[in-house]
Symmetry: D2
Subunit: 349 residues, 4 copies
């Protein structure tokens, strides 16, 4: 068992890390770290736990550490997961990466030239960027990042479309869940009987991250995919699960049946390698006229499957809807799957 620590353990994504790793066959949580405000308290007091399953007994009373690289030695950590705010990540993730692998859910380093931005089913080959990174930065560890939560729900289905049909352009409108903003991110007074048509920096991430992920790995860097994405991001009163309405202009003629088959058949390294957190199917195409829906479909594949529905076309313009669990497939689960892939590929030392 590899020993891991969670940086940002008290937040919404931190809580999902704890839930998802409870019975993990390869990784064991040894340290929970958070901000100064939480440090020194038992976890159950430090975290505003919001999941409907209880805090694992083994972690409930664990004293939260302050985020500091000295916990690596103190707890003999093999690697860490990071779900800290961007400004903190800028400072601490490199400090940890000097010594151990860091699997980061934070935006800070995603677009760095030598940092892999990975969805294991989509671009597992990008993991090799860590060799460039380690060499350039003289680190024993490295940083591997996963995309923004809404970028994942978009990129997973774009991958087979990009491969099979080519993509000219994408317009996407999101209806995103509250948990994406953190526990206190969206006041109830702001969202009851309402929609908030703005999420800070979200559109920028959605418009660039998929192009890196779908880009070509060229040994020392990534050549970005060359289509354009235009995003409109909205917050709705849903606890978990991002819904995205997507219009994609493809590069060649197609039939809906063909698209469905391509999406349904999509599979990747996590499935082939039978990684512990890999869903049986990365994408499920639903034929019901009114699906997917966040409350009913977000937990498919343990929250790791992207549900697709409402496919329709006009000429080369394809319309569909995706639904993905934003704090599992879009955050904690994404980081864990990256770590599993890195482990299986022998990158974890």
């Amino acid at each position: 068992m590899l020993k891991t620590g969670i940086l940002g353990a008290t937040g919404m994504v931190g809580q999902r890390f704890i839930q998802l790793l409870e019975d993990h066959p390869w990784f064991k949580i040894e340290a929970l770290a958070a901000s100064k405000r939480s440090a020194g308290k038992p976890y159950k007091e430090a975290a505003k736990w919001h999941l409907d399953v209880a805090i694992p007994d083994s972690l409930s009373g664990v004293v939260v550490e302050q985020i500091d690289p000295k916990i690596i030695d103190e707890f003999d950590l093999d690697f860490v997961f990071s779900a800290v705010p961007s400004d903190i990540a800028r400072q601490v993730e490199p400090q940890f990466a000097e010594k151990v692998p860091v699997f980061s859910n934070t935006a800070t380093h995603r677009m760095d030239d030598d940092v892999p931005l990975v969805i294991p089913e989509v671009n597992s080959e990008h993991l090799d960027l860590v060799n460039v990174q380690k060499k350039r930065r003289s680190w024993k560890g490295f940083i591997i990042t996963n995309p923004n939560c809404s970028a994942i729900g978009l990129t997973v289905p774009l991958k087979p479309l990009y491969t099979e049909f080519g993509i000219n352009s994408v317009e996407v409108t999101t209806m995103q869940a509250l948990s994406g903003a953190g526990y206190a991110g969206v006041p109830s007074m702001a969202i009851v009987d309402n929609v908030i048509p703005f999420i800070s920096n979200e559109e920028q991430k959605m418009e660039i991250e998929p192009l890196k992920i779908l880009g070509r790995f060229k040994g020392d860097g990534v050549e970005f995919a060359d289509f354009s994405i235009f995003a409109s991001c909205n917050r709705v009163g849903v606890l978990d699960g991002h819904t995205e309405s997507i219009f994609v202009k493809l590069n060649r003629e197609f039939e809906i049946a063909e698209v469905k088959e391509v999406l349904n058949d999509f599979t990747g390294d996590p499935q082939r390698l039978k990684l512990p957190s890999a869903p049986e199917k990365p994408i499920i195409v639903m034929d019901e006229v009114d699906r997917p829906q966040p409350r009913l479909d977000r937990n498919k594949g343990g929250g790791m499957t992207v549900s697709v529905g409402r496919l329709n076309r006009k000429g080369r313009l394809l319309r569909f809807l995706t639904l993905s669990h934003n704090t599992i497939r879009g955050a904690a689960g994404a980081s864990i799957l990256n770590a599993e892939l890195a482990y299986k590929k022998g990158l974890m030392g």
Copy 2:
């Protein structure tokens, strides 16, 4: 004062007719008609009133009539408003139109060649189709329709864009309010902590109605506008107010500032004629980064103003968001404004 009757008086749109006409300077409600189930009961018992203002005292105890053209003579009606279901409309609207003008909020006759589908600020000249209609059908009255609720929020801002820049294509994703489905249309079990990505027949209406409204009136018919619309319609847990995320490819280069000016300056016959229900401005462009929002902006202009925000562009592709009150600007208010325009234009006899 012209005497009017409300067909479908107990439903969500019927209730808005009653609210909006309470102190109308030209029109007075003389008859409330509804289905057999409601007929014979006092209005306050027949209707599941859902507005946070009380039923007008003058109508609260009025006995509901069954929908039947004989109420025209019985109550000496000059015209009627119709908010009945489509199948009922097919049968009764022509029966009423034989004798008096019918201002219909129902889809049934919207696409008929000789029936005007009108938003007064957009295509008031289409009203003249009633002459063709009356002649062809040998009716003393006529049917004038207003568009589907979500089509209105789309078409109003498209009009100045179409005129000024030309439109190549439109992709629109809606986040629509619950009231659009009628009082019992969306069970709470279906929408709490959820989004429903389907509204029956809604996308079809949104994709064709604006093309008729923006079409050219040619004496005996309308030549439809020639661009394409692709819609994705979703229901969210909002009581009133449809939000629409719109991507429009324009026919020429533009700057955002230019688009804002064109939208903000837009005005039409209702403003020039100072119709009683006309908002001061049909469109208000909001500069706040997180507006418009349904709960905060749906009542602008008495619910008759379309709020626009979040303008951005990539090349000739313009993105923006609209918010309009679906049962006022998108239904009852739309019909009333049509009736006011028809009255002012001398079509009401």
Copy 3:
């Protein structure tokens, strides 16, 4: 394995029966029965499935039967669960009970002199009423009922208080979940940004059922408990989980610590007999100042544990809050636990 059928299989409670019995060690669903409207369709089409776990594969395609006692022979059923509306229950439950045991979640027969109204932890001895019942009605089977959903959340904690301290009177105010009204029971237009302070017949049930359950079994009938209950029932916008604010005047002096101990230590036949659906603890007392909460606590003990919190006292007046899952502990799970108890007690033949 005993073979069972679900009467009312498509409704909210019916769906919970299916979910809870999926891997049951003693009972196997052989027949799904529902109204004429559903009969003949595959289950997945007949039911508006609302749970976030999928329909079990083994039942998804099963053709729904019409509710008719002939399915007993056709499917060789040993007993049935009933979750049909009251008026249907009046007709069909006796027809089934002529031949096989019926475990009913319906109000119809709950107050019949010879019908046990049972919560296994509270009054398992009442089961013996079935002997009176079978004899009097000359049935091969019998009817055993479980209480109304909100009565359960009240009665479970009242039991140890009644035994230990004696009860003078009870005032209870509920905040009940939407699922209790059935899938289409509460329109979203009625409950968004609202509370509905009325549930038809609910207060009457809450005020009498606990008195029968807590009554003394006297061989041929039940002598009701002799205190008074006054209830105020309200619907709030929660999917599952009834919250109840309870004031109980006890018959003797007490300390809060004493009450907590009595509640926490409460246990019954299901725990002693290790019935498959029995929670480890029927009651969990929470010390957190803001618990229990429906979303966080409704699934405790697989939805079978009643969470209690916010205990306080003034003189002999005790105040506390309970939270119980209304479609598991309060409906399907309650019936199943009754069946398990009856089976273990040898009543199932």
Copy 4:
């Protein structure tokens, strides 16, 4: 016109002060004051405005002042309204009261011996306490307070019951609105699909404040009413409007019809004096089986009427439900009505 300032102008209650005073016949807002963080900004930027009517044009651009008694001279204020947090109130309200009357919505001074705690319809005679207060404290001004929002919805109907029947004891369970916690007080993650059965210090206020308000004024102080109140306070997902389920044991026999008449006929000084913010009726008894409801009834009487319904009895125990607008009748409107009463009684100099 008297010139007034709002202390705490940017918060939820501050916004209501601004809305309610927009066209006030006697009072004019001259100064908006808030915390250091807001001071110096135009009001529209400093406040997170949440009402669905716009900020009055005359105040939208006004620069917010820091809360400091020097604004009294600077803006020539005749008196101030205070809606600041309790800790701030402790410091600043006496500083202001040295010079001018302060109408406070804050808990800090409510229970002071010489501070009137007033609901004008209930205990207008308590206003005379200001004479004691001014003398004892050597102030030119004074502090008059209004009760906690949920205490008001309870006390208004208790008054006529207390007068007519006498009260033995009260048990009350609240379902309180989100706005009572301030804009960011309740995270959406905490309340969607949930109830929170705890509001800090709320029960303590509800259990004591009504006893002072219903107490007897004895020249130099108030003799509290002598019954007991036991409260259970809960937060539900409603924007505005506190619902309270109340059980009152009365001191003599009664019929429901008698209680309804006593409540419906209740009136007080504000009605007799025709104060500008007084509702026509302080209490409206609703006969509909499912009313009052927050969304439908909170705006009755401009938000100043308390709606009562669901009356029932068992012996001398009366049950009913009240609904009152927590930020109008329960906060800003309450303070304004107090100021109107004080003005009319000649206390404002």
